[in-house]
């Protein structure tokens, strides 16, 4: 356990040692800030049934920034260790392969959480200025953040998988961007192609982050997406572990 924590702390620290972290933080803040502004101005247009939480989490801009952030967070996790050769020092220390994979994933997840922290304040500020209790709709508020966490876990694990496949960070980023965009748009298949079979529509429905967010940001917390995202994350991480072992042995 203490070895895992040692690895995890190094991962987190290495994010904040790199200028990339601050660039990502800055632009993510800018994007979510603008998105919040767009959400509020939508509410200003006239009477509406949606809450500020729903308005914030369901815009195109929100999803655009959302999909883009994962490759940036995960591209260096494994690729850099392979490229620098530091993997050799790391794996000749008495650490388990699983500890390394979990620490890298955990570090990415914590950075992702840090990325979202400022947005918590948006709703507080909204409340403070408008005096409206709308943002306090607990289910919608925490439901949205729960889904962000679940989605984040799945997409970060996909990013880790892409990073373990190559020693080039750019290739890792492109691969994870394509994979995540594909997963994301799979949920939109029924909107894009009109006459899909109902069976197929049901299957791709499980991947539909937009649909899930629509529900969760209303405060409807369905257990199916929770189980889906958790099991997909576990599956992808196990796959990552196996590829990591195979690659380590070939290097």
């Amino acid at each position: 356990m203490s070895r895992f924590l040692t690895l995890l702390f190094r991962e987190i620290k290495s994010y904040f040692y790199s200028p990339v972290a601050y660039v990502v933080l800055f632009f993510f803040l800018l994007l979510t800030g603008f998105n919040f502004f767009a959400g509020v101005s939508l509410l200003n247009r006239g009477p509406t049934e949606i809450t500020v939480v729903e308005a914030f989490f369901n815009t195109v801009l929100f999803w655009f920034g959302f999909v883009l952030v994962f490759p940036l967070i995960t591209m260096r996790t494994f690729a850099e260790e392979f490229k620098m050769g530091t993997i050799e020092g790391l794996m000749t220390a008495p650490v388990r392969d699983g500890q390394v994979v979990l620490a890298k994933f955990g570090g990415a997840l914590l950075f992702y959480i840090v990325l979202w922290l400022p947005s918590l304040a948006y709703f507080r500020i909204f409340e403070w200025i408008t005096g409206s209790e709308a943002a306090r709709a607990g289910g919608a508020y925490w439901g949205s953040y729960l889904l962000l966490l679940l989605l984040g876990m799945f997409y970060l694990s996909v990013g880790c998988l892409a990073s373990v496949l190559t020693r080039n960070q750019i290739i890792a980023a492109v691969m994870s961007f394509c994979a995540i965009t594909l997963l994301f748009f799979m949920g939109l298949l029924s909107f894009i192609v009109l006459n899909v079979s109902p069976f197929l529509r049901d299957i791709v429905g499980y991947f539909s982050a937009i649909e899930h967010m629509g529900e969760f940001s209303k405060g409807i917390i369905d257990s199916r997406p929770v189980v889906f995202y958790l099991s997909m994350t576990a599956f992808t991480l196990i796959l990552t572990l196996h590829i990591f072992q195979a690659r380590k042995w070939k290097s």
Binding site: S2, R3, T6, L7, R10, S14, Y17, S18, M84, G85, T86, I87, E88, G89, L90, M91, T92, A93, P94, V95, R96, K248, W249, S251
Partner: protein
């Protein structure tokens, strides 16, 4: 400390290590020699539990490096070739990180970090970022990392490559001192270094062990061991044939140097014809200005062993 049995490592298309077996006892300093691509690094990587072998077994401190990898790794301090380090970390931070990974905590960790920094002269760069350090310092950070958890066995892959002569001497002294308490397996291209530090030499060529002995024994068995240099002013032109007829002389190569003649003599390993050469020169009244025995170096051994099958 190390037992290697029939170890083979095949990559797609070529065999890096071909069925080698050797043992290293506790307290030995063993030098791994061989041309580039001979399989030195591969063997070291297998021993440090980084790579699995294709077949064969390797045990360190009694633990199989593949099936009991974690236990074996606790006993090994490994310094990889080119010393990969995290460039964004500070020296002190890095050593503490590595110490913790290797199971040190609290006071023990602080003590060991301080000790290895003193041993490797890293005090002055304690708070510097590794990415800004010179090659020599990085090499020493790698060495400090390898020994921070007081491993029984140190595996050092080219510890002195890229260092200047002063730094090489420092590292050499350090290794020699470490050899009092640790077993050391090191690889290098710098042959005089092996002669000075190692108690035993393993010469690898094309994935096989070609020689395994102390540097002294290797030198005495060398074919070119008996080599003499003679310079004299001969009266006639029969000097060459007279020298050749001496007992134990196998080959004479003559080279004129003005009025003088320079001869290179190859002799049997056991015989020493210097006395008879002196007597010959005195009898014939040839002025003799040089008579010396060329000392074979490990370089000769290396060249002879690693090139014999190409020639």
């Amino acid at each position: 400390m190390i037992q290697v049995e029939n170890l083979t490592k095949r990559y797609a298309g070529h065999t890096a290590v071909n069925n080698i077996s050797f043992e290293v006892g506790k307290g030995e300093i063993v030098g791994f020699l061989g041309p580039n691509g001979a399989g030195k690094s591969t063997t070291m990587r297998i021993l440090s539990a980084f790579l699995p072998a294709t077949s064969g077994r390797a045990r360190v401190a009694g633990y199989d490096v593949f099936t009991h990898s974690l236990q074996a790794r606790r006993h090994i301090g490994y310094m990889p070739e080119n010393v990969p380090l995290y460039p964004e970390m500070r020296v002190d931070e890095y050593l503490r990180f590595r110490g913790k990974l290797k199971g040190l905590h609290g006071r023990r960790l602080r003590e060991r970090a301080a000790e290895v920094k003193d041993l490797c002269n890293l005090r002055e760069v304690d708070h510097k970022i590794i990415g800004t350090l010179s090659k020599g310092f990085r090499q020493r950070v790698g060495l400090a990392d390898a020994m921070i958890h007081e491993p029984d066995l140190l595996i050092l892959d080219e510890p002195t490559i890229g260092l200047d002569p002063n730094q090489i001497r420092q590292v050499r002294d350090l290794i020699r001192n470490l050899g009092k308490h640790h077993t050391i397996l090191l690889s290098t291209h710098i042959l005089p270094e092996v002669e000075m530090t190692c108690s035993r030499v393993l010469i690898l060529n094309k994935g096989r062990i070609e020689a395994s002995d102390s540097p002294q024994n290797l030198l005495s068995h060398l074919r070119s061991a008996g080599s003499l240099h003679v310079e004299l002013k001969p009266g006639g032109d029969d000097a060459e044939s007279l020298l050749r007829s001496l007992d134990g002389v196998k080959e004479v190569v003559a080279k004129p140097a003005g009025e003088w003649m320079s001869f290179r003599l190859r002799t049997d390993a056991e015989s020493d014809p210097r006395e008879s050469i002196h007597r010959l020169a005195v009898d014939r009244k040839w002025p003799l200005r040089e008579l010396s025995r060329a000392r074979a170096t490990l370089e000769d051994v290396f060249v002879e062993i690693t090139q014999s099958d190409d020639a």
